[in-house]
Each structure stands twice: as structure tokens, then as C-alpha cells.
Symmetry: C2
Subunit: 290 residues, 2 copies
Amino acid sequence: MLLGSIEAGGTKFVCAVGNEDYQIKDQIQIPTTTPIETLTQVVNYFKQFELAALGIASFGPIEIRKTSPKYGFITTTPKPGWRDTDFLGLIKKELKIPISWTTDVNGSAFGEYTMSTLFNEKINSLVYYTIGTGVGAGTVIDGHLIGGIGHPEMGHVLLKRHPDDLNFKGICPYHGDCLEGLVAGPTFETRTGKKGEDVPLTDKTWDIMAYYIAQAAIQTTLILRPNKIVFGGGVTNETLLEKIRNEFQRILNGYVEVPPLDQYIAPPQAANNNSANIGNFALAYRLLLE
Amino acid sequence: MLLGSIEAGGTKFVCAVGNEDYQIKDQIQIPTTTPIETLTQVVNYFKQFELAALGIASFGPIEIRKTSPKYGFITTTPKPGWRDTDFLGLIKKELKIPISWTTDVNGSAFGEYTMSTLFNEKINSLVYYTIGTGVGAGTVIDGHLIGGIGHPEMGHVLLKRHPDDLNFKGICPYHGDCLEGLVAGPTFETRTGKKGEDVPLTDKTWDIMAYYIAQAAIQTTLILRPNKIVFGGGVTNETLLEKIRNEFQRILNGYVEVPPLDQYIAPPQAANNNSANIGNFALAYRLLLE
């Protein structure tokens, strides 16, 4: 059986074809230009295959409430040309198969949850954070994605400021110094004048980042009590993860029990940034079982 | 049919008997002394009735993982004499009926969720915060309580500090200036030298409280996207709720859509502090339907 996956980002769309064992058979990248141009290429790509179902994980914000007339739309994105785009509707018109619809980070969360079942980790809830150009997170609770009145937007919470970072105003256009405003990739340039990849891991900017990201992990822990928190995205690396673990332990101060931190605060298990593809395959396959 | 409810607090146990329509038929209060003394009185009270099932909502921390050998225990509480008490086991030995087991705030959250269904609010997720001697919260998502590795402890997250409150160190013995450390009832005395009920609602301490509690509501909104956030507990009042709504709106800055704020950030619908009793009845009744 063949399943399709679209990981729709603001720069590129990754389209993949795989099977119900999550093996990728084919994959292409399509630049994100206009909705009509990009989505036409997407449809033409998938029409080469006999897909049983398709999963879409899209940049947002998107409408995920099935009761809404705008279900399947990209809604209030600042991305030029994409505001109020009926993404799901346009794909559905061309591909007459079951299609799942969620956010990019929910797709990745579901992919990492799926990976954990393949590795027999016996977990039932997981949160996936991406720390990159932006900051977002997806959540699986008891095997299901959550969101009563919309999808989570976990990147925009406020945090206790680091004492050595009080003069930094943050870069979020909505909130200034929310999580995204304090730790998204572009904050490196604002703080240090250098791109993140050029800031040595010994620079204390990384410690400040870890302090904030650890607070996000604390919130996630105390509010959701998941089995695992995965950190992906371009800013994340093993040195940063280890700093996050140390800050997490220091701040939590033993208040609640958590799994061993090297398993609890972890990098993605899906190789080659394929978390969202695997999540899409799994969500698409689930539609066929319903 | 008769259902039982225990709302177990650090000062008193409220025991109630009601029916599957959540009507309370009888109720007593038992002081919290030693486990053996208090629980014996509880059992003797309920033995007067022919209960079909019982719900327990307890102060914590408690063990809620059914796979744990300590399932049903109050675990690491600082309350003298109650650490590692097999609460559920002791009750089960005496009352041979189905018994549900959760935290006090989860009981209240489930009660308020139940009330919302009675008022036909058509919601599927709700968070209940208590702001009192301590701060805690319970969560219902898609009609179920959550917690993969334990129950939520939402009172202990860190927050952005209010510019006029930077010198206050907070009173949480674990975390200093976490949410509980900044807004629990006893902070009034530490900040102003007066008990909360003696601090006029025009005093700016209430604005500082609202700033912090609004951040908790923001976290809850962005992480869980519930349909409703209920605030109960001794510190809460309508003036404070209105201040919280204003701060919430200011901080969120239109980033995501939420229901009208007077419905979204709301006081309990259950009268006379009966949220937990109603939640217990509903959870106990659910056991009979499984």
C-alpha cells in the first residue's frame, strides 16, 4: 500500500511516498511560491502514484476544527499570498482519497510518537518542539493530537527572564519576549551580530537559550506530564540539549518524578528530518482503519 | 442509585452522597487528623448508605498510574503522617464497590466539565485552577483527565516577573517565584502584611496577581487550547477575574482566537464549592458504565 505525505513549510514543500511500515519510497522538494503554482506541482507529483491515503502537516496557523467552514484552510499567516488558502480543499478536489490535516509540528509529534512505538518505548504521550526560524510544538496525548478550539501555539508563552539577558527585548512581533521571541534562530543575530551556526557552543548565549527552553520543558512537564519531550529544528544540537537537561533539573528541583533526562529530553528518532513524513503516513493510515 | 464522593483536603475531608443526576442527598465534613482516624470516620459514614460507586479527589501528590505498586497512595506530601498512605487501598478494603481515584483539582475540573454539559455548553476540554492556600489545576481533554507519567502540577511553572514586583522572592519552598510562590493566598501577607481578605481590591497587589494568573491562562491556552478555563479557590473573586481577563487580552495580543473572555475565563458553575463532589459523582458513575 502506498501513502502520501506533505510537509508544507514556508520555504519548501517536502512531498513523500511511503508504505504502512513508514518506509519512504520516493521524495521531492517543491519551493513554496504561490498557492496555485505550488499546489499544482504537489498534485501532479502525487498523481504518478496509486495512493491509498495522504497526510498533510502544514505551516500555520491553520483551521483544524472540522465544524468550521474554514476547516482545511491556512488562515492568518503573514506569508504573502497564502492567507485564507483552502489548502485541503484544493488537494481534495484533485486526489479523491482520505486525507489527514494537521500542523507541521503536530505531524512531527505524531511521527516521533510513532517512532517510539516502533522502538517499543511504551509511551502514550509526547511533545515535539521545533526550535528554528520560529518556535512551535505539537502534542500527542493518549495516542491522539489535542486542541479543542484550535491547535497549540506553544511558542508564544512568557517566561522568567534570565538575569544576564534583561536588556534583550525579544523579536516576536506579537509578544516581544515570549519563548519564540527569546530563542528562535534569528535571536542569535540580534543578540550577538552573528548567525547561530557561527556562535561557539561555549558562548554564554547558549546558556541563556537553555534557560528559556528548559522553562518550556518545565511548563510542558507540569501541564501535560508527557512521557517524552523531543526537541528538533535547526537551532537544536546535543550540546544545547545537555544544557537544557541541566537547567531543567535545577529549576524543577525534584518537584515531580520524570524519566531519566537523557530519554525524557531527547533529539528526534526519525532520521533526516523525517518526523513529519512518518507522522503523516501514520495519520493517513489511521484514516483507513477508522 | 447512590454515589459517594470524598474531597480530601489537608484541613478537612468533605464526604457527600448523591445520585447520578448530581444531586447531593447528604454531606459531612471530617477534620484531617491522622490517616487511620480520618479514614475510619470516612468509611463509617459511607457504610450508612448503599453506594453503587465512589469517587475520591485527594490532595497530593498522589500516584495515579495504575501500573504502579503505589497506585492509590498519597505519596510525597509534606502533611505530617500522610506521606506514603495507601488511601485508596484502605477505603477499598472496607467498601467493596468501584472507586475512582484522582487529584482534588482533577475532581473539580471534571465537575466543572460535567456542569458545562448540563448547561449544554458543548465543550470537550476544560482546565480548572484553584488559587487558594496553594495553586493547582486539573485538566479534562476530550472528556478525559490527562497525565501520562503522573498528574499535572500546573502551579509550579515560572513566569515573567511584574516590573513592580521584582523584589518579591516568592514563597514556594521548591521554586521561590513560581506561579504558586507568587500568587498563593499567603503571598498577600508576605507582600503587604495583611491577609488577602483585608487587602482592598483597589490595591495594586491585585493587579500584580492578575498579571501572573493571566500568564497561567496564556500558557494553558497556547499549550492545551481548551474551551474554557475556570478559576476557583479562596483568592478568586469577580474583580480579580476581570483583571485577569484584561491582562490576558493584553498579553495574548490577538495571537489566537479564543471564546468571549467572560465565558472563557470563568468562575465555577457548581454552587457551594461542590465542583469536586460533582466530578466525583460523574467519575464514579462512569466506572459503572465501563
